[in-house]
C-alpha cells in the first residue's frame, strides 16, 4: 500500500504557521476570558473559581512547555526555537478549556504531559500527529482521573449529564422545567450554566469562530458540515420521538459541540486536506457524536467522535485524493452518499431510544437547625436537623445539588419526603441514623446523607447517659450482668447484659470466639460497637431484641445473638421492681375487668390497682383475634403500651392515647374500649 504522509499545512500562503497559531491562541484566550467573567459574576461561584481556572491553565501550559523542553533537550535541538515551533501551549489551553472546574491540578498536569508525549511528540512533533492531542489528553482524563476532583469546588450536575441520564429524550413539558433550571435556552446560548471551563458559551465560541474563519485560520466547511449534520439528524430524531424544536438546538448547545467544531475538528494537522474530505470529516464526526450520545449513553459524544474521525482521516484522504477539479463530481456524489447513509442509520437507531424517568432536583426548603455535611457522589451533601427545645427532632432536610439527578438526587428527594419521617419525634442524641433506608443505586449518596446526619449528633450530650464510654472497645470487655448463650455458627455465643438497679440495660457485650472471621466475628464486633446501642436505656424486660439489625452474611451468628439476648430476659423477675409483663401466656390477675367486642370475639382487659388506686398492671386478652394481626397487636399492648400506665392513677389514665396497630384497627379499638370499660366500672 502506498502511503504518503503530508504534514499540513503544505501550501505557501501569506500566512505563516506562526500567525495562524497566534490568532488561534488569541481566540482561545477570548473564550477563556468569558469563562472567567462567568465565574466571577455567576451565582454560587466567585473569584475563587476564576482563580482556579487561571491556576489550571497555568499548570497545563507549564506542563506542556516543560515536557517539550525536556524532549528537545534530549534530542539535542535548540530548545527555545523548537518550543516556539511546537505550539504546545495551544494543546494545553484547549485541554484546560475542555475540563470541568473541579479537576485536580495533578490530573490535568499528568494528562497534559501524556497528551504532549504520546499525542504529539512520539509521532514526530508538530504537524505530524494523527490524533488531536488535546482530545487525547481529555480521553486520558476520562479513563484515569474521573474521580480525581478537588472537593471544595462544588459543581452542580451539568445539563448534558442530566439530559443524558434521561436517555436523551424528554417530554416537552418536562424539558421546559428542566431547562428553566439553567436559565432557559438563551442562557445556554450565552453560556451561563455549569459545564466545562470553556465549552459553555456558544455565543462567544461562534463569534471567535467567525473571526478565525475571516482571518482564514480555520476552514468553515468542517464547522458547517459538522453543525449542519448534527442539526439535521437531531431534528429528524426529535421528530421521530416527538420532541419539539428545542431538541436539535439543545444538542448543538451542549457537550462541547460548538467548542469541538471550532477549535478541534478544524485542526488542519489532523483533518483531511481536501474540501470534500473535510466535509466528509465533519459529517462523520457528527454521525459519531449523535450515535454515541443516543446509544452510548455517554454525554461525551464529541470527544470520542473527534478521535474516531482523526483515525479515519487517512481513509478519507484516499477517497478524496486527486485533482480536485477533475474529481469534483465524484466527490460530491461521495459526500451525498455518506451524508444520507449517516442520517439513515441515525434515524433508524433513534427509533430504539427510550426515555428514562428523571427527577429534577427540587429546591429544598430552608430550615434552621444543626447542619452536617459529607462528601456525596458528585459533590457535597448537607443535612439540616431542626429540633425543639427538648432536643427532639422536628424536621430533617437534605440537600445535594451535585448529585446525579436520577439517582442520588432522587434518593435525596425520597429522604426529604419520606425517608426522614421515621426520625421525627425521636431525640436527636438517640436517633440511629444508620437505620435510614438507603436507596438502591444511590449508595454513595445515601451513605453520605447518613454520615452528614451523624455529624449533627456529634455535639450533643445525652442527659440520661450512664458513665460508660461511647465508643466500645474492639476487644470484648468483661462486664457483670445476666448471661445468655446460644449456639452460633462455629460454636457457642454468649451475651452479657448489664442492668442498673431499675432493670434498665446499661450495656450489652456479646462474645463468640468460634465464629467465622470476616463474617460472624465481624457481626459480633458490629453489635458490640453499634448494634446494641439501641437497647441501652431500655428496660431489659421490655427490650425487643428481635429488632437487632442482623448482618447480611452472618445470619446464623446474628440470630444466635438474638436468641442469647432473649434468654437474658427470662431471668429478670428478681431484678426489676416493676411488675413484669410476660410475653406468652397472659397472667391471671385479680383486678377490674372490662370487655369489648373485638374482631373475632370478645376482648377482656384486666386492670390491677394497688391500695392507692394506682395501676399496677394492665393485661389484655383476646383469644379469638386473628393470628398475625389482632393477636400480635394484643401482645404488643401487653408488652409495651400498657406499661406506660403503670403507676398512674386509674381514674386519670387516658387509654385513648394507645396507638392503634395498622392492620388490626378493630382489635386495637376494642382493647381501648375494654380498658375504658374497666376504668368506668372501677369508678362506680
Amino acid at each position: 500500500m502506498k502511503f504518503t504522509f503530508k504534514p499540513s499545512p503544505n501550501y505557501r500562503d501569506s500566512q505563516s504557521t506562526q500567525s495562524i497559531m497566534r490568532d488561534l491562541t488569541i481566540g482561545l484566550l477570548v473564550v477563556f476570558a468569558f469563562s472567567l467573567f462567568y465565574y466571577v459574576t455567576g451565582e454560587n461561584l466567585g473569584v475563587n473559581y476564576a482563580l482556579r481556572a487561571c491556576g489550571l491553565l497555568v499548570t497545563s501550559v507549564i506542563s506542556a512547555v516543560v515536557t517539550e523542553a525536556i524532549y528537545f533537550a534530549f534530542k539535542k535541538e535548540p530548545i527555545i526555537k523548537s518550543i516556539k515551533g511546537s505550539f504546545g501551549w495551544v494543546t494545553a489551553i484547549i485541554l484546560t478549556l475542555m475540563c470541568p472546574i473541579n479537576i485536580s491540578y495533578y490530573a490535568l498536569a499528568i494528562s497534559t504531559i501524556l497528551a504532549i508525549v504520546f499525542g504529539k511528540l512520539v509521532f514526530g512533533g508538530f504537524g505530524q500527529n494523527i490524533f488531536n492531542p488535546a482530545a487525547f489528553g481529555r480521553a486520558i482524563i476520562m479513563a484515569s482521573f474521573a474521580g480525581s476532583v478537588a472537593v471544595d469546588f462544588a459543581t452542580s450536575a451539568t445539563p448534558t449529564a442530566s439530559f443524558a441520564a434521561s436517555g436523551w429524550l424528554m417530554s416537552n413539558e418536562t424539558f421546559s422545567s428542566f431547562i428553566a433550571q439553567f436559565g432557559g435556552l438563551s442562557e445556554m446560548f450565552i453560556g451561563r450554566y455549569p459545564g466545562a471551563i470553556g465549552e459553555t458559551s456558544a455565543l462567544v465560541i461562534l463569534l471567535v469562530g467567525a473571526f478565525l474563519v475571516y482571518r482564514k485560520v480555520i476552514d468553515w466547511k468542517v464547522i458547517v458540515a459538522y453543525l449542519g449534520t448534527i442539526f439535521v439528524s437531531t431534528l429528524g430524531i426529535g421528530l421521530v420521538n416527538g420532541q419539539g424544536m428545542w431538541y436539535p438546538i439543545f444538542h448543538l448547545l451542549t457537550g462541547g459541540v460548538m467548542f469541538g467544531a471550532v477549535f478541534m475538528l478544524t485542526d488542519p494537522v489532523t483533518n483531511p486536506t481536501s474540501s470534500a474530505g473535510r466535509i466528509i470529516f465533519g459529517i462523520g464526526a457528527a454521525f459519531f457524536t449523535v450515535l454515541i450520545r443516543i446509544k452510548g449513553n455517554l454525554p461525551e459524544g464529541v470527544l470520542y467522535s473527534i478521535l474516531l474521525m482523526n483515525m479515519l482521516t487517512p481513509l478519507i484522504e484516499r477517497l478524496t485524493t486527486g485533482n480536485q477539479i477533475k474529481i469534483a463530481k465524484k466527490n460530491m456524489r461521495n459526500v451525498a452518499i455518506i451524508f444520507v447513509a449517516c442520517l439513515a442509520i441515525l434515524l433508524g437507531v433513534s427509533t430504539t431510544m427510550e426515555a428514562k424517568e428523571i427527577t429534577i432536583n427540587e429546591p429544598v426548603e430552608e430550615i434552621d437547625g444543626i447542619t452536617g455535611t459529607a462528601q456525596g457522589f458528585g459533590g457535597e451533601v448537607s443535612v439540616t436537623v431542626a429540633t425543639d427545645e427538648n432536643g427532639i427532632i422536628t424536621k430533617i432536610v437534605a440537600e445535594g445539588t451535585a448529585e446525579t439527578p436520577n439517582l442520588g438526587g432522587a434518593a435525596i428527594s425520597t429522604f426529604n419526603s419520606e425517608g426522614f419521617a421515621k426520625f421525627e419525634g425521636v431525640a436527636l442524641a438517640e436517633a440511629d441514623f444508620d437505620t435510614l433506608d438507603t436507596i438502591t443505586g444511590s449508595t454513595v449518596t445515601s451513605e453520605a446523607v447518613i454520615e452528614a446526619l451523624k455529624q449533627t449528633q456529634g455535639g450533643q450530650t445525652t442527659t440520661q447517659e450512664v458513665t460508660e464510654e461511647t465508643t466500645a472497645p474492639t476487644t470484648t470487655e468483661e462486664i457483670d450482668g445476666i448471661v445468655g448463650s446460644a449456639q452460633g455458627f462455629g460454636g457457642e455465643i454468649s451475651v452479657t447484659v448489664a442492668t442498673d438497679e431499675n432493670g434498665i440495660i446499661t450495656k450489652i457485650v456479646a462474645e463468640g470466639a468460634n465464629e467465622t472471621a470476616g463474617l460472624g466475628l465481624d457481626a459480633i464486633e458490629t453489635f458490640n460497637n453499634e448494634g446494641f446501642a439501641k437497647f441501652e436505656g431500655v428496660a431489659l424486660a421490655e427490650a425487643d431484641f428481635d429488632t437487632l439489625d442482623t448482618i447480611t452474611g452472618s445470619t446464623v451468628t446474628s440470630e444466635a445473638v438474638i436468641e442469647a439476648l432473649k434468654q437474658t430476659q427470662g431471668e429478670t423477675t428478681t431484678e426489676t421492681t416493676a411488675p413484669e409483663t410476660t410475653e406468652a401466656a397472659t397472667e391471671e390477675n385479680d383486678g377490674i375487668v372490662g370487655t369489648a367486642q373485638g374482631f373475632g370475639g370478645e376482648i377482656t382487659v384486666t386492670i390491677s390497682v394497688d391500695e392507692n388506686g394506682n395501676i399496677t398492671s394492665v393485661v389484655a386478652e383476646g383469644a379469638n383475634e386473628t393470628a398475625g394481626l389482632g393477636l400480635d397487636a394484643i401482645e404488643k399492648f401487653n408488652s409495651e403500651d400498657f406499661t406506660e400506665f403503670e403507676g398512674v392513677a386509674l381514674a386519670e389514665a387516658d387509654f385513648s392515647t394507645i396507638d392503634t396497630v395498622t392492620g388490626s384497627t378493630v382489635t386495637s379499638k376494642a382493647v381501648v374500649e375494654a380498658a375504658q370499660a374497666a376504668q368506668s366500672a372501677a369508678q362506680q
Partner: protein, 214 residues
C-alpha cells in the same frame, strides 16, 4: 559454554521474545496488571516451554516431518492442561486472576516458534537451555511491564504467595489519589508495551552503532 552463555543472554535481550521478536503479545498485554500475575504466568510458560522443548528434542528424530505440527501441538497442549489443572488445584487465586490466558499459552507463538526453530534441530540439553532462557526472557518482560503498570496504575507494589494468598510484601509507592488508573486498562498496556519495545530497539541500535564504529 560461551556459546550457551551468549545465546542465553540473547534470549533475554536482543532476542527477547516479547519486545524483540514480538511474540506472545496477547497474554502480555492482558495479564501484566500485577506482579503476581506476571510471575505466575512466567513460571507457567517456563515450565511448558522447557518441557516441550525437551520432549520435542528427544523425539525429533522419530517424529515424521509431515505431522510434526500436530504432534507439537498435542504435546504443548497436554503440558498446558497439566499446568492449568495444577494451578487450579493449588493456587486458586492465580487461576482466577489469569483465567483463560492459561489455556491460551498453547497458542503462545513463543512455544511453537521455539519448538519449530530450535528444539526440532538441536540436542536435548541445548533445547532445554533455550527453553529456559526464552522463558526467563519472557518472564522478565512480563515483570517489567507489570512493575510499570502496577505502580502507575494502582500505586501499590505487592506480591503474595500464590499458594496461600499470604501477602509477602506490599508497598504503597504512589498515594491512591495520584494513580493513573489508565495503566490498569488495555490502553495503558499498549502504551507501556510500546515504550518498552522502543527502549529495547533503541538499545539494540545503540549497540549496533557501537559495534559498527569499532
Amino acid at each position: 559454554m560461551n556459546k550457551n552463555k551468549s545465546s542465553f543472554i540473547n534470549g533475554l535481550l536482543t532476542e527477547n521474545p516479547v519486545f524483540g521478536l514480538y511474540l506472545g503479545i496477547c497474554s502480555t498485554l492482558a495479564i501484566t496488571t500485577s506482579l503476581n500475575n506476571a510471575i505466575g504466568m512466567g513460571v507457567a510458560v517456563i515450565f511448558v516451554l522447557t518441557f516441550s522443548n525437551i520432549i520435542i528434542s528427544a523425539m525429533r528424530n522419530i517424529i515424521p516431518n509431515e505431522i510434526r505440527i500436530p504432534v507439537y501441538i498435542v504435546i504443548i497442549a497436554t503440558l498446558v492442561t497439566i499446568v492449568e489443572m495444577l494451578i487450579h488445584a493449588y493456587a486458586p487465586s492465580l487461576y482466577s486472576a489469569l483465567g483463560a490466558f492459561i489455556s491460551l499459552i498453547v497458542v503462545n507463538c513463543i512455544i511453537l516458534g521455539r519448538a519449530e526453530a530450535f528444539a526440532s534441530k538441536n540436542g536435548i540439553l541445548a533445547s532445554a537451555m533455550d527453553g529456559i532462557s526464552m522463558g526467563i526472557g519472557y518472564t522478565l518482560s512480563l515483570l517489567v511491564m507489570s512493575l510499570i503498570r502496577q505502580i502507575l496504575g494502582t500505586g501499590i507494589l505487592s506480591f503474595s504467595n500464590p499458594f496461600t494468598d499470604a501477602t509477602i510484601f506490599s508497598f504503597t509507592i504512589i498515594p491512591e489519589n495520584y494513580v493513573i488508573s489508565m495503566f490498569k486498562d488495555p490502553t495503558g498496556a499498549f502504551l507501556t508495551f510500546a515504550c518498552c519495545a522502543a527502549a529495547l530497539t533503541a538499545y539494540i541500535n545503540h549497540k549496533k552503532k557501537k559495534e559498527a564504529s569499532r
